[in-house]
Symmetry: C2
DNA sequence: CGGGTTTTTGATCTCCTTCAATCCTAGTGG
DNA sequence: CCACTAGGATTGAAGGAGATCAAAAACCCG
C-alpha cells in the first residue's frame, strides 16, 4: 500500500497549522478507500469505527426518521471531514453517508483519534472550528425553515450547492454531481412535486436549465433576487 | 473580588478531566457577572470579547433575521457554556443572549481562550463534545421541521423545556422560567396564534395548565403520545 | 385604577401537500 | 441497434393545515 501524497492534503482545514512531519505521521495511519457511486461510506446507527476525509467525489449525508422519512443533512465536497462521530462523543454514526459519484476517502480508525489529538492539538482546534461552522449552517437552515417560503428556500439551496460544488459550463454553473428533485425536497423540507413545479417555472423563465438529476444555474443573480424576496414583495 | 467557589463548577462538562489545580488556575481568570432579568449577556453582531458559563438563572439565545424576524435558538440552563464564538472561529457573536430570569454568568476574556486551551487541552475536547451535541440537537430540529406538523413540534418543545428546566410542582412539572406563547412560536417555527390555540386545547383536555408566561405540564406522558403521533394517526 | 403586554378566539385565505396520472429519459438486455 | 423498463420528472385537481387579519379579553405592574 502506497503512502498518501501529502501535497494533496497539506492545505486542508483539518491539518491547518501542522508541520510537514506531523502531517506525514498522521497520514501514515490513514487508509485510502474507493467508494463506488451509490455505495455507503458508513451507515446511520453503525458503530463509529472510522472517521474520514473526502478526497475525491461527492457524498450525501442523510438521516432516516423513525417514521421512515429521509432528510438530507448536507452534501460533502472534497477536502471536508465526515464521520467525526467519535470526536463529538457519539458511539455510532448519526447519519448515513452515500457516495453520489465514484468517490475516494481517507479513513482513520476511530481508536486512533484520542492519540492523534494528544500529539497534534491542532486537530482538535481545527475540528472544533469545522463543527462550529456546521452548527452555524444548520442554524441558518432552521431560521430559513422558520421564516421563509419554500420558493426562497429552494433558491437558496441551489445557490449553496452551486457555490460549494459548481462547475462552470457554457450556459452557466452546473451542480457537479447528480441530484434529483427528491434530494432537493429532502434538503428544503418540502415535496418533490413542489420542487418540480418551482424548477419547471424557473426553467421556462430561463433562470435554470434542468435535466434528469442535473441542474445548471443560468442566472444566479436572479436566483439571489428570488431568494431575498420577502413574501409580500410584489414584482416591480 | 472573591475567587469563585470551585466546588460549584467542578463537575461541569466543560471542566471534565481537569485537576483541582487546573480548575483553580482557570477560574482565577474568570469574573462573575450578574445579569438582571431581560438584560443581555451579549448581542448578535457584537465583537466576541468574552465567553461564558451560566451559573444561575436562564438565558435565551435568539437570532434576528435580516427581515427583522426573531428565532429562538435555544434556552441555556445553569452549567452550560455560551458565547463560545471565538472557539469556533467567529469574530462576533452569532446570536443575542438574554437573561429571562435574574442570572449569573462566569466570564472569561476571549483573548485568554487560546492560552487556556494550550495549557488545558481537555477544554478543547470538552467544547468539541458540547458543540457536537448542539449540532445534533439542531439537526433534530431541522428534521422535525421537515417532517412533523406544528402540533408535534410544539409538544416536543414543551417536553424538552420541561426536561431541561422543569421544576416539580403539585400538579405536574412547571417550566422554571417565564416563557410566552410567542417564545414557543419562535422556537418551533410557527405563530403565537397557532401556539395559543394548541395550548388552549391542551389545557381544556387537562394536559397542561397555563398562565401568563407560565406553563405546567400535567400529563407529560400524553404529550409524548401527541408528539409521537403521525399525521394520519386517528384517535383510538 | 390605568395602560401596556400577553393571550384568546373567530373568520378568511393561501401556500403547499396530497392524490393521481402521464410523460420522459437513460440504461439494459436481447 | 432497438425495444423495454424502471426510476425520475411533470402536471392537474382538490383539500387542508396553518398563516394572516381582526378584535376582544385577561392579566400584571406601577
Amino acid at each position: 500500500m502506497a503512502t498518501i501524497d501529502t501535497s494533496l492534503v497539506a492545505k486542508l482545514p483539518l491539518f491547518a497549522g501542522c508541520s510537514a512531519d506531523e502531517l506525514d505521521a498522521i497520514l501514515k495511519e490513514a487508509r485510502s478507500i474507493r467508494v463506488p457511486k451509490n455505495g455507503n461510506v458508513f451507515e446511520q446507527g453503525e458503530d463509529a469505527h472510522s472517521f474520514f476525509v473526502l478526497l475525491h467525489g461527492h457524498v450525501r449525508a442523510s438521516k432516516l426518521t423513525p417514521a421512515g422519512e429521509q432528510v438530507v443533512v448536507r452534501y460533502v465536497a472534497p477536502g471536508e471531514t465526515l464521520g467525526v462521530a467519535m470526536a463529538i462523543g457519539l458511539p455510532s454514526y448519526p447519519a448515513t453517508a452515500t457516495a453520489v459519484d465514484d468517490s475516494v476517502v481517507l479513513a482513520w480508525p476511530t481508536a486512533a483519534w484520542p492519540r492523534l489529538v494528544e500529539r497534534h492539538p491542532a486537530l482538535a482546534t481545527n475540528t472544533l472550528r469545522t463543527v462550529g461552522a456546521r452548527l452555524q449552517e444548520t442554524h441558518s437552515r432552521v431560521i430559513e425553515m422558520s421564516t421563509q417560503q419554500v420558493e426562497q428556500r429552494v433558491a437558496r439551496a441551489l445557490l449553496r450547492l452551486a457555490k460549494q460544488s459548481g462547475r462552470p459550463v457554457e450556459t452557466g454553473v452546473e451542480i457537479d454531481f447528480p441530484i434529483s428533485r427528491q434530494d432537493i425536497a429532502q434538503m428544503t423540507g418540502t415535496t418533490l412535486h413542489t420542487v418540480s413545479r418551482l424548477l419547471s417555472g424557473w426553467e421556462s423563465r430561463g433562470l435554470i436549465e434542468g435535466g434528469r438529476r442535473r441542474i445548471v444555474l443560468r442566472a444566479p443573480d436572479q436566483l439571489v433576487a428570488l431568494a431575498e424576496q420577502t413574501p409580500d414583495d410584489t414584482a416591480s
